[in-house]
Amino acid sequence: MCNQTVGLVQREIEGQGISTVGISIAREISESVKPPRTYFLKYPFGHALGEAGNKLQHFTILKESLELLTSVQEPGTIIDSPYRWRRYRFEG
């Protein structure tokens, strides 16, 4: 499934010397596969960046994911996003 595929490919890339960060929408699978850095959202399949047309939501999730490249120091870290599906309102 998608999150496992992300994790497996991510591990290979990192193992060959390129820093990676992955988004996950299935925490248990990321916990098992153990990719280097993961930003987890409790979002439905097909919506890793959020809702269609919500540019601020997409940008926020992308930005916070990329920040893990510098902030995470422990391999296998999973950061839980605070943005709940359709509960958190993204406002500019």
């Binding site: 490919v9 390129i18 699978i29 269609a52 540019k55």
Partner: protein, 168 residues
Amino acid sequence: MRNIMNRFMVMLFQIPWVKSYWSSRYPAVLSSSTPWKPLGKPLQHCKIAVITTGGVHLKTDKPFDMLDKEGDPSFRLIPSATEQEQLAITHDYYDHSDADKDINLVLPVDALKEAQQMGLVGESAEHFYGLMGHVGGQHLKTLVEETAQLIIRQLKLEKVDVVLLVPA
């Protein structure tokens, strides 16, 4: 029949607790350790590539195989400057009706451009990569030992520093 079953499963997974229950029971690959490469330079100077497992590919490219029940472990090159109109999604295992309207849900090209304009991250690599995330059985070996290695070769050729991976 298989198509009808897939559609039923996709609908079922739209129920949050069904998705959570399934995820917690999925027999995922269990890794014991984690590879690690610290960032070698400031993020704003890092060349970035994006990999999506949302089944995204150029309309002119070969669609992913939806007939093999163990999935399709191959990948498609997506020039990073590609417009959404030139892209298609072939993936029967999730509801991509929203992503069909807004590709950014599985390949965040617009948000990445914004981050680059703000100087948060460096330029995009020449290519991004599309995979179809539904991969299992014997195809997992192909995914890791062949597909991932081909992708890494291309990443190194394009001198990519960081990779963002996005599931569907």
